[in-house]
Amino acid sequence: MNDNDLLTNETAPKRRDELQIHNKKLGEVSNWLKSAFSEDHSAPGVLYLTGPTGSGKSTSVEVLCKEKNIELIDYTPELLHDDFLEYEKHDFSQLIRFLIRRHASLMGGSKKQILFVTELPDQSYQDAERFREEMYEALHRIRHPVIFCLTNDIACWNLNPDKLFTREFIRKADISTITFNPVADTFMKKALIRASNLLPSPLSDTKLNIIKEEARGDLRTAMNMLQMNSVGLNANRRTGMKVICASKANKEEAFHMLGRILYAKRVNPNAPKLTRFSQKRRSSVPIPEPTERTDLENDPSDIITMSSMSSGKLVDFLFENEPVFCPSISNYRRVVDMFSLCDVLAGDWNTARSFPDEYAAQIATRSVMWNNFQGSRPKTMFCIARPTEKDLEKQMTATRNEIRRLPMIGNKHFSSLDAPYRGIIENITDPQRIELFLGRPMEIGWKLGKDRIEELIDGRHYIAYKGRKHPRKARKNATPLVVKQAEEEDETYTIEDSSDDSFDEF
């Protein structure tokens, strides 16, 4: 293996079984490739392939095309020259010329060819309207199938290809779409292990896990981190446990920092003088905690500067873990009050740029350390929990993406596809069920996932949380009806019925 190239290129999968991408997605791409060259198509197909960065879009296409013996013709605007051999300005005309030209195979013979566009002219982002017009024209005249492979999960709306490929346009121009998701954790792990084993000195499992966590579904970033951490003869031994990666350059320090804040240790007058050697003995013989508020062992400002965590993240972590450490409800109220203030300070977007971020961290840390005095302490080693909000957000985006992919209303498959979502929508719109959810016992948390929550709540209440039997309604519908009909009626009346209830109360 030559060590001259980036790991992202060097370890790029060459065969289909090396691809760490969901088989369903691969199948979709593969089917499209098949249909693109089937005889019964009058015009060559167009595919709009999108997904977040590093989700394996272009790699999948490359591997599958190689397997199917299809030649990919890359669109590289930079290599085009005009008659005087000067660089041409990169605009529509180049792209259109590329699209409608007949391309001779570089490999010779009658190899199948696909045009592969991974970059659009800058002009198109500035003038979306014209881009669509010109593309619409051009796509009618193409001679080869075209794949537009673009990153659409991009924060900058200006550069988002979804702005150009609107639903309307996709429908009108008869473009197929395939959307890739961020790479799932299991696949990511497999890919990392594979790449790591190709290295002269593979990384330890713990390190790979940290990289996996950090990459957030971006396979390319993961490979870059792997390269960053693997250069050197014996990468494992040289740096110990430390892994340098994106956001948590010092994960361990962050962990210690949270511990110091939450435990809020104070200088203990009962404690024997600390030396490096007595430390071990101290842990085996517990000394009574000070009964009066002495000085803190660690200065809050020092703790904050020690880590690179942003204020928002710090508050999230403290919020998640504070209940375990807080001595009483009134203290907890005070702390949470401060957290809410921190949220206001840190969350205001129009001042965020000029307002120092540190206020929130300072306030949160100090109020936690003050109020946690003589608080409950977990008896054993306590595992600091990650903010659940993040997981919830992740779940929400996943569901949102799932729903977005549903066909438009009026499509012939609409009813069969949206059926599973009816249950969710009903549960959200029925105030009685929300009440039930909010009044649930404490141990039922978001972490359990929707199905488990429903199951537990259903088991606890006489009134079904998710079921259709409101006691009152059961009486109403007591008239003998065919069972199936009754169910249908129930479903349609659910929302109306409950809104009536709220009227009565006023």
Binding site: P52, G54, N224, S307, R366
Partner: protein
């Protein structure tokens, strides 16, 4: 100008800029990783992000120097915010550089340094994306920026991100003392303390303040540093806070109005006040709890100021608030 004189007049920031990675203070974890890479070669594309004055650009240059040795001149292209960096420049200049042939040893690559990359337009960054991939066999990119969020995702995905953190006072002090010794500066502890206080983890600012004080007054003591940096005097702030703890509203208000009269902006006054409250030892009467309350009040007031209410009335209100929370405590 003779070379000697020029060297004499050079800003100390440049004169004492570390030339090798091992001289860089702070962020040891990442710098030591870069050292290993500098020995072995095959550096990935990297983004260094973090606040100003913590050694991002210095690290990149030191890395380039250690990787490329005497070939640095030919094999490094640096573009910073003052250079034209539109789409066309990215297309042509960077591409031309990427295509030029430079003979380098095995495992070494040409390096393109893009300083202050967050000031590049989205279009230019988009154009960079492809270049990064096409020439990865011969050329690597090192981007330095203050906010990594301003780099578009496709670029972030193609780089390994290194997040530098602010330097601690100890790290700053180590280097500042070194420089002061090398320039045989006449300093005292109060002066260095004031320099660390005004720099707040920014090495560039610390060295600039040191040099400015030396040029203006020769002697580096607290008074002189604060005169040069023109910051509201922390000692007066401490006095003001003392009045607040003793619930002497009028005396405290007089001090903050004096700051206002001297022409300090409300923003400056509040930032300094915040720094004082969080770091400086206050009177015994200020408990942890009270200190937290102070920070809270200052934070809320600062928020209002940032939103646009910079009037004197807000400062008076802050003093009143500080007195009020002292009463409650």
């Amino acid at each position: 100008m003779s070379k000697h004189l020029k060297h004499e007049l050079a800003p100390w920031v440049e004169k004492y800029r570390p030339q090798v990675l091992s001289d860089i203070v702070g962020n040891e974890n990442m710098v030591s990783r870069l050292e290993v890479i500098a020995k072995e070669g095959n550096v990935p594309n990297i983004i260094l992000s973090g606040p100003p004055g913590i050694g991002k650009t210095t690290s990149v240059w030191a890395l380039a120097r250690e990787l490329l040795g005497d070939k640095v001149k030919e094999a490094v292209l640096e573009l910073n915010a003052s250079d034209e960096r539109g789409i066309d420049v990215v297309r042509n200049r960077i591409k031309t550089f990427a295509q030029t042939k430079v003979t380098l040893p095995e495992g070494r690559h040409k390096i393109i340094i893009l300083d202050e990359a967050d000031s590049m337009t989205d279009g230019a960054q988009q154009a960079l994306r492809r270049t990064m991939e096409l020439y990865s066999k011969t050329t690597r990119f090192a981007l330095a920026c203050n906010q990594s969020e301003k780099i578009i995702e496709p670029i972030q995905s193609r780089c390994a991100l290194l997040r530098y953190t602010k330097l601690s006072p100890v790290e700053l002090l180590y280097r500042v003392k070194e420089v002061a010794k090398a320039e045989s500066v006449n300093y005292d502890d109060g002066g260095l303390e004031a320099i660390l206080f005004t720099a707040q983890g920014d090495m560039r600012q610390a060295l600039n303040n040191l040099q400015a004080t030396v040029n203006a007054y020769e002697r580096v003591n607290k008074e002189n540093v604060l005169k040069v940096c023109d910051e509201p005097h922390p000692d007066l702030m401490i006095k003001m806070l003392l009045y607040c703890t003793e619930k002497k509203f009028f005396e405290a208000a007089k001090i903050i109005h004096e700051f206002h009269r001297l022409g300090f902006s409300s923003d400056d006054i509040l930032s300094t006040l915040f720094r004082v409250v969080k770091t400086v030892e206050l009177s015994k009467n200020v408990s942890e709890q009270l200190r937290m309350q102070y920070i809270k009040e200052i934070g809320v007031c600062h928020m209002r100021v940032v939103q646009g209410l910079t009037s004197k009335l807000q400062l008076s209100r802050l003093v009143a608030d500080l007195c009020r929370v002292s009463v409650d405590a």
